[in-house]
């Protein structure tokens, strides 16, 4: 049996630890003895060696999403990729129309970007996902207009783990001559991602969701560098002028290695995680008054979002502090707000407020899952007993 050390990490959807193989690859690009030169320093061999690493990584990332290497633009993460995709396409194609379609359950990096474009005069339609929180053509099609230039739908939702029906949306967009952006930050490395199968023109990925480093991401741009976007960050003309700034060799090499590993291991990993998730779910459901958020079938392997009747969210989190997990999305938890995703799904307030997101990953074990089940059962029982609906007091029961 594995030793369990607490807190047990159940927050792989917020971020992942960097895989040891990736750490090694990053460290090779840092110190004096390593490949530390500036990849833009084409005037000397160390600079060209760094450029070589960057381009090798570009091929790995391109391979994971089925793209050509020149279609990959390095960014500082999926937040920047989403901003670059949406603002970059909107500004570049402003003459074709000023209407965008997206969904209410997108990541804030999409929603806040759309809000900014609204301030600049664009119109944005935010559709409500269908049953189980899944966005399909049925929601998107009615929202399309003659002046729609861009549709942005995430592949996998970061709070509930559901898989949207993106390929048909992509085909619809292509028919209508509308650009299609997919935020694949939570999909890459978990399920197959293929820009052609999705008919995606733009697709965002992030390294730190795939056992790579935080602060590294990429944007796929179909047809790049012939096709263009308006850059967010100017200066120096790196990345075909679409994203300037010194390329962070170690970050990019790490992302490349992480994506290389993902290509090799994601199928087996998904199978293992699915079994763990099912074990977790069957352990929790026995409590009674436990609700699964999001479709039960169309979901990535490692993610489980559950709401508990009769327990308050903050107290639940505190009672479960031996488990590192999040209520709502960690990515949005820098701001204080109830989960807008669960509200969009129509969850009543109490249940939305008492949701926990368990996200399992590469290093999760059966023992960890079993520990979690025991602890959650014990603490939910205790907190329910403390509440107004609760029975005899603890003291009197003694």
């Amino acid at each position: 049996m594995t030793e369990i050390s607490t807190p047990i990490y159940f927050d792989y959807a917020a971020t992942t630890p960097v895989d040891e193989r990736v750490v090694r690859c990053m460290v090779e690009c840092l110190g004096r003895g390593g490949c530390f030169a500036n990849p833009a320093s084409s005037s000397h061999a160390p600079g060209r060696a760094a450029r070589g690493r960057v381009e090798a990584a570009r091929r790995e990332v391109a391979a994971l999403v089925g793209a050509g290497p020149t279609e990959i633009i390095w960014t500082s993460g999926a937040t920047e990729s989403n901003n670059l995709a949406i603002k970059g396409a909107a500004h570049f194609h402003a003459d074709r129309g000023r209407h965008i379609v997206t969904s209410r359950t997108e990541h804030k990096a999409v929603l806040d970007t759309c809000r900014q474009l609204e301030k600049e005069g664009w119109q944005v339609s935010y559709v409500t996902p269908g049953a189980g929180g899944i966005t399909t053509v049925a929601e998107i099609e009615p929202a399309l207009r003659k002046d729609t230039v861009l549709v942005s739908v995430m592949y996998v939702n970061n709070e509930i783990g559901t898989i949207n029906d993106v390929a048909p949306i992509g085909r619809l967009c292509r028919e209508r001559g509308v650009l299609f952006h997919v935020d694949a930050a939570q999909a890459a490395g978990k399920i197959p991602v293929d820009v052609d199968a999705l008919c995606a023109d733009l697709l965002s990925v992030s390294a730190h969701k795939v056992y790579g480093p935080k602060g590294a991401g990429a944007l796929y741009l179909r047809g790049s560098p012939r096709s263009r976007l308006e850059p967010l960050i100017h200066g120096g003309g790196h990345e075909w002028g679409m994203r300037s700034g010194t390329l962070a060799t170690h970050q990019i090499a790490g992302m490349g290695e992480a994506f290389r590993i993902a290509v090799l291991e994601q199928d087996a990993e998904a199978e293992r995680l699915r079994a763990l998730r099912e074990r977790l779910w069957s352990g929790l459901v026995g409590l009674g008054g436990v609700h699964l958020n999001g479709d039960a079938e169309r979901r990535v392997a490692g993610m489980l979002n559950v709401s508990f009747e009769g327990v308050e969210g903050e107290s639940l989190l505190f009672a479960l502090r031996d488990l590192a997990l999040s209520s709502g999305s960690a990515c949005t938890s820098a701001s204080r707000e109830a989960s807008y995703v669960l509200r969009a799904l129509g969850r009543e307030d109490q249940l939305a407020q008492s949701s926990l997101r368990f996200s399992l990953g590469r290093f999760s074990t059966v023992e960890e899952v079993d520990y979690a089940v025991r602890l959650v059962r014990e603490q939910v029982d205790r907190l329910r007993a403390l509440g107004p609906g609760g029975g005899a007091s603890q003291q009197e029961a003694m």
């Binding site: 903050e314 509440g387 603890q394």
Partner: protein, 130 residues
Amino acid sequence: MQADILEYSGEVRHRFETAPRHGRILAAHAERMAGGAGDAQRGVRVEFEARVRDGRIVECRFRAYGCPHVIAAASWVAEHAEGREAGDAEWLDPLRIAALLEAPAHKLGNLLVVEDAFRACIAQRQGAVR
């Protein structure tokens, strides 16, 4: 959520874990006061019960749905209510409780619900007696 959200004082941790004065009171109708405030749908619901003898609270218990500060505050109030005059709520100062629990400012709203619940509890008895 705020970065400080799970940083609780020792007092809060202790009361959250052990929940002193949690429970119900079995008492004759004449000796019993009970009342509550808040709504779980909005995140806080607190209820108090007390046994009164000779105009004084001899025993007080709480039940609470809410954040750890709410649970701790309800526990503290139940404990400190004992021995006091049944109609008295002047001693109960949410600001003082907030300070005592080292609760952040945005929790004051929740603590007011605890006060309301206690006032509802003693008001009920006052109503019953008059």
